[in-house]
Structures are given as structure tokens and as C-alpha cells.
């Protein structure tokens, strides 16, 4: 530095002083440009509708979607007094309470079967993951046909005469069979990679110590993959609480509201009959319940989940 002529050093310093603020201002603009799209879309299609939904739940809204006045808790009183709303909450909770543990049991069992690599592994791994390739609406159409009372394969095979989706007693459970099936492929894949991620020394050491199959599974493998279990339970709970596709495609919430879930009710009242106040309340209740379950899961996590 010392050997440099003073004038050159001064001009460098001068240039730095001149450039620095401009560069910083340029950065600010650049950052704004980089972030603008994600922030605009986040606000426009998540926060704005969310807040609007909350506000609308306290207002009367006409069929065009315009707010006509503040009504306080009237919408809530109206919705909570309706019998179909109680039915929808019960159906949604029942669907979630059956769907989540059954999916968990099936996918963990499948992952345990497939855990060890064998010559035929690729074959059955592909078979187990294949339900993932079938989209929700395609799965609904296939199940509708399979469980059709007169032409369906299920009735013909088991010599039954059940109207699976048409009967009040069976419609919800048939829907659960469908939703469980749709979730199998992806969760199986998650569990398989979780099991294979367990260092083999741990399980080998346990079997040398004389731990049997079930001891190994319940005392070692399952605790070690508990973060994955938590993740699957959370995502499946949200999916089950938000379930509406099969109802829209197959049952229309029927017969006599046996498959009306909260999200189907929101869809039918908001989009179907333009009763936006009612739809807002129903969707907020679904949100509150789902949010509550997620928090419960994380409280549970503090006690039971092990991180390696």
C-alpha cells in the first residue's frame, strides 16, 4: 500500500466511496426483484384469502361474495346449530381416526417386509409404491367401478350384494379403504428409506444379544425412525382432515350425509350454493381442528421422538 503512489490510493478510496452506496441501493432493488414474486403470490393466495375467510365468518355475505354487514357470531351460531355440521365433524374425525393408524400399520409392515435387500426386491418395491402413480380422481373412478353393487368385482368375488358406496352404513368405511389405498405408496417409500437408514451394526448387535424379531422392531427400529413416523402422522392427519375428493367424485356426501366431511361441506355450501359465510365458518373449524392436532403431535414429539 505504502509503495503505491498517493494519488492512485486516493482515487481507489474515492471510487470505493462513490461506488459503495450505489451498489447497496442496487442490491436493495435486486433483492426486492428476487423476492417480489414469492411474496406477492404468498400474500395474494394464502394470507389474503385466509384473513378474508376469518373476516367473512363474522359478516353476512351475499351470493355474489360481497360483504353486506357485520353479524358477529351469528354465522357460527347458525353453523354449530346445524345437524349436518355435527355429522360432518363426526365423519371427518372418524375418517382421520381410522385412516391414520391403519395407513401407518400397513405401510410400516410393508416397509419391514421389504427392508432387507433380496434379488426380487425391485419387483415388490415397485408393486408397493405403484398406488402412488394413480391420481386421486383415477383411483376414485376405479374404486367406484370395483365396488359397484351390480357390476363390481368385489361383490362378485365375495358373493355379496352390498351397495358399498350407496349404503349409509358402509359408505364412509368404503371411502376410508380408498383413502388408505391412495396413501400407501408414498408412505411406504418414506418408511423404507427410514428403515434402511438405520446403521446395520445397531440391529446386528441387538440380534447377537438375542433380541427376537419383535423386540428388535419395537425396541430399536421403530424408536429410531420415530421422526419419520411423526412426519407421516402429521401429513396424513392433515390430508385426512382435508379429505373431500372422493366425496365430490363418488358419493356427493351421501347417502343421507353419511360421507359429508367438513371440506365437502365447505365445497358444497361455498362453491355449490354460494353461501360464503357458512363456508368460511366450516373451513375455519376444519383449520382449527387440524392445527390443534398438529400441535398435539409436536407436544407428543418432545416426549417420544428420538433424534439420532
Amino acid at each position: 500500500m505504502n509503495s503505491a503512489p498517493p494519488s492512485a490510493a486516493a482515487s481507489v478510496r474515492d471510487a470505493q466511496r462513490r461506488c459503495a452506496p450505489r451498489a447497496r441501493r442496487g442490491n436493495g432493488l435486486k433483492i426486492a426483484l428476487f423476492l417480489a414474486p414469492i411474496l406477492v403470490f404468498t400474500v395474494a393466495f394464502t394470507y389474503y384469502p385466509f384473513i378474508k375467510t376469518i373476516l367473512e365468518s363474522f359478516c353476512s355475505v351475499n351470493t355474489k361474495g360481497e360483504v353486506t354487514g357485520f353479524v358477529g357470531l351469528e354465522n357460527y351460531a347458525y353453523v354449530f346449530g346445524r345437524s349436518d355440521f355435527k355429522k360432518a365433524i363426526l365423519n371427518t374425525l372418524l375418517l382421520t381416526a381410522i385412516n391414520v393408524p391403519v395407513t401407518l400399520f400397513i405401510t410400516i409392515s410393508l416397509a419391514l417386509i421389504a427392508n432387507k435387500k433380496r434379488p426380487l426386491s425391485p419387483v415388490y418395491e415397485t408393486l408397493f409404491t405403484m398406488p402412488m402413480a394413480v391420481s386421486m380422481s383415477a383411483a376414485c373412478m376405479v374404486f367406484k367401478s370395483m365396488f359397484s353393487p351390480k357390476l363390481g368385482f368385489v361383490n362378485a368375488f365375495f358373493h355379496l350384494n352390498l351397495g358399498w358406496f350407496e349404503n349409509r352404513a358402509t359408505a364412509l368405511y368404503t371411502t376410508i379403504i380408498l383413502t388408505v389405498w391412495m396413501g400407501i405408496g408414498f408412505d411406504f417409500l418414506l418408511f423404507l428409506s427410514a428403515f434402511r437408514g438405520i446403521p446395520s451394526q445397531i440391529t446386528e448387535a441387538a440380534s447377537l444379544d438375542g433380541a427376537g424379531f419383535f423386540t428388535r422392531v419395537f425396541k430399536i427400529q421403530l424408536p429410531l425412525i420415530s421422526p419419520t413416523i411423526l412426519y407421516v402422522v402429521c401429513t396424513n392427519t392433515v390430508l385426512a382432515m382435508m379429505c373431500s375428493g372422493p366425496m365430490i367424485i363418488i358419493t356427493q356426501g351421501g347417502p343421507s350425509r353419511a360421507t359429508t366431511t367438513l371440506m365437502y361441506m365447505m365445497y358444497a355450501s361455498g362453491y355449490g350454493s354460494s353461501d360464503y359465510g357458512l363456508a368460511a365458518v366450516v373451513s375455519l373449524v376444519a383449520f382449527a381442528l387440524t392445527f390443534g392436532f398438529t400441535i398435539l403431535a409436536f407436544v407428543f414429539e418432545r416426549k417420544k421422538v428420538y433424534y439420532q
Binding site: 442490491n27 436493495g28 435486486k30 426483484l33 423476492l35 414474486p37 414469492i38 411474496l39 403470490f41 404468498t42 395474494a44 393466495f45 394464502t46 394470507y47 385466509f50 375467510t53 361474495g65 432387507k116 433380496r118 434379488p119 426380487l120 419387483v123 415388490y124 408393486l127 408397493f128 405403484m130 402412488m132 402413480a133 394413480v134 391420481s135 386421486m136 380422481s137 383415477a138 383411483a139 376414485c140 373412478m141 376405479v142 374404486f143 367401478s145 370395483m146 359397484s148 357390476l151 368385482f153 368375488f157 389405498w181 418414506l190 382432515m241 382435508m242 365430490i248 367424485i249 371440506m263 365447505m266 365445497y267 361455498g270 362453491y271 360464503y276 368460511a280 373451513s283 375455519l284 383449520f287
Partner: protein, 277 residues
């Protein structure tokens, strides 16, 4: 019997059982494909296999009843456009969050991540009124505009960008490489596996979406996606299942191609990207 042969026999037994279970699991798919080759009379009988795989009348009828190919093109446009927009938005945001420090950075970051706490389904009706007010009903843009942001994808991308050494950026800057050129020519090639995984995941999610395209295209049957189209096949005749199954089979062909691509990208990019929707 030596221990080795015993283990081999055990493995073989488990494999056979596993394949049997697997076949039961994929039975609906098999049933759908076989069913689409049956005649109406055959469909009444409880037989799994069709008499011949040369009977293509169902496919012809399905294509005649609804423009399924047009629907597939619609799906393709929506999925591709939505995925590209999503990736560009994601990459830009992840880059700003990892390469710059500025006031309000944490606020912006958690504003984006906070969207993960709000399930998209509950916003369906309100977003519908927004999109209809923007006059985007029955348009491709309206069909994918609500899925332009995926917080989990942004998070994944950010994590990957963070693991790229800082020196790389400094070296590029000294060589006079601007941000955009740095992203396109240095950062993305380094992070290619993640970008591909996110692309495939995103494409499949958008390809499979049902509810949003359904309500957005309700008044324009031509704009329907394939996933909406197949559910409308039997609206007027409820017993024509072989035709419906033929339509579903047609819709499954691209899905299975995507499935194979995804399995490949998962085994390459690891399962990290798998948690993203």
C-alpha cells in the same frame, strides 16, 4: 441344511409373500386395465381377464365421448407452466435468502414458510372468488396461479444453496459474473439433482390436481384437465363402466411414465426431495 440355504429359502418365501401382497395392492390398477378391454356383456361376468386384448371399442368410445387427448394437452400445459413458474420463483427467492443480508429477511422468510401451516384446501372457496374477480376463470393461468408458491420447495432449495461454498460466489464475482449468470451457469448446474427432483415432484402434483381445475373450468368443458375429464365420463350413463375404465387407463399412461421418472429421480437425488409436495 446349511445355514446359507436356510437363509436363502427364507428369503425366497418372504419374496413370494411380498409379491403376493404387492399384487393385491395393485389389483385396482390391473382391474382397471383388464376391464377396459372387456365388452359390456363380459363386464357382467365376474371374470378378471378379458376375452381378448384386441377389443378396442371402449377406448374409441371414450375418446369419442370426451376430447381426452385435448384434456391431456391441457393438463400438460398447466403442469409444465405451473412447474416452471414455481421453480423460477423458488430459485429467485432461495437465492435472495441465501446470498444477501437485508433488513426484514427473517420476516420474509417466515412469512413464506408460514404458508405451510395453512392447508390450501380451506382457501379453495375464497381463492375461487379472487381468481374469478381477476377474470381468470377457464384460463390456464387461473388453473395454476394458486400453486405458484411452494414453501417446502423453497425451503429445500435454500438448504441446498446453503451447502454451496461461499468462495464459489466470490470467485464468480471477481470474474465479473452477475447474479443471474451465476445462478444459471454455476449454482443450478451444481444443484441439478435437487432441481430435477423438485421439477418432477411439482409436475406430478400439478398433473394430479383435481379440485382446483374442477371448479375453475366448470363452465368451459374444453379447458378441463384429464383428471377432471375422466370423472365426467359417466355422468349420463352410470352403468357404462368399461368405457370409464378405458378413459382411466388412457389417463394412467402418462401417470406411469411420470412414476418411472420419479422413482429414478428419487433414487438419484435421494429421498430428501420426496418430502416436498
Amino acid at each position: 441344511m446349511s445355514r446359507k440355504t436356510k437363509r436363502r429359502l427364507g428369503d425366497a418365501a418372504v419374496s413370494v409373500i411380498a409379491i403376493a401382497i404387492g399384487l393385491i395392492l395393485v389389483f385396482p390398477v390391473i382391474y382397471c386395465v383388464f376391464g377396459s378391454f372387456k365388452t359390456a356383456a363380459e363386464f357382467m361376468k365376474p371374470r378378471l381377464l378379458p376375452q381378448s386384448f384386441a377389443y378396442l371399442e371402449n377406448f374409441r368410445n371414450a375418446l369419442r365421448q370426451a376430447p381426452l387427448l385435448r384434456y391431456m394437452v391441457n393438463s400438460c400445459i398447466v403442469a409444465l407452466f405451473g412447474t416452471l413458474a414455481r421453480l423460477i420463483i423458488t430459485i429467485m427467492a432461495a437465492f435472495a435468502f441465501t446470498h444477501y443480508n437485508f433488513r426484514g429477511k427473517n420476516f420474509c422468510f417466515f412469512l413464506v414458510l408460514g404458508t405451510m401451516m395453512i392447508p390450501g384446501d380451506i382457501l379453495l372457496v375464497t381463492n375461487y372468488t379472487t381468481v374469478s374477480a381477476l377474470k381468470l376463470l377457464n384460463t390456464y393461468l387461473g388453473m395454476c396461479i394458486v400453486s405458484f408458491v411452494s414453501a417446502s420447495q423453497m425451503f429445500m432449495m435454500r438448504q441446498r444453496f446453503l451447502s454451496v461454498p461461499r468462495d464459489m460466489r466470490e470467485a464468480a464475482m471477481i470474474d465479473g459474473c452477475g447474479d443471474v449468470r451465476y445462478i444459471l451457469q454455476v449454482l443450478l448446474p451444481i444443484c441439478r439433482p435437487v432441481v430435477i427432483t423438485l421439477f418432477v415432484q411439482s409436475f406430478i402434483t400439478l398433473w394430479n390436481t383435481y379440485l382446483w381445475p374442477l371448479i375453475i373450468t366448470a363452465s368451459a368443458p374444453n379447458m378441463r384437465t384429464i383428471m377432471v375429464g375422466i370423472t365426467k365420463l359417466n355422468s349420463w350413463e352410470d352403468t357404462n363402466y368399461e368405457l370409464v375404465l378405458a378413459g382411466v387407463t388412457i389417463s394412467l399412461i402418462p401417470s406411469f411414465i411420470l412414476f418411472i421418472i420419479m422413482r429414478r429421480s428419487l433414487s438419484k437425488g435421494g429421498m430428501d426431495g420426496a418430502l416436498v409436495g
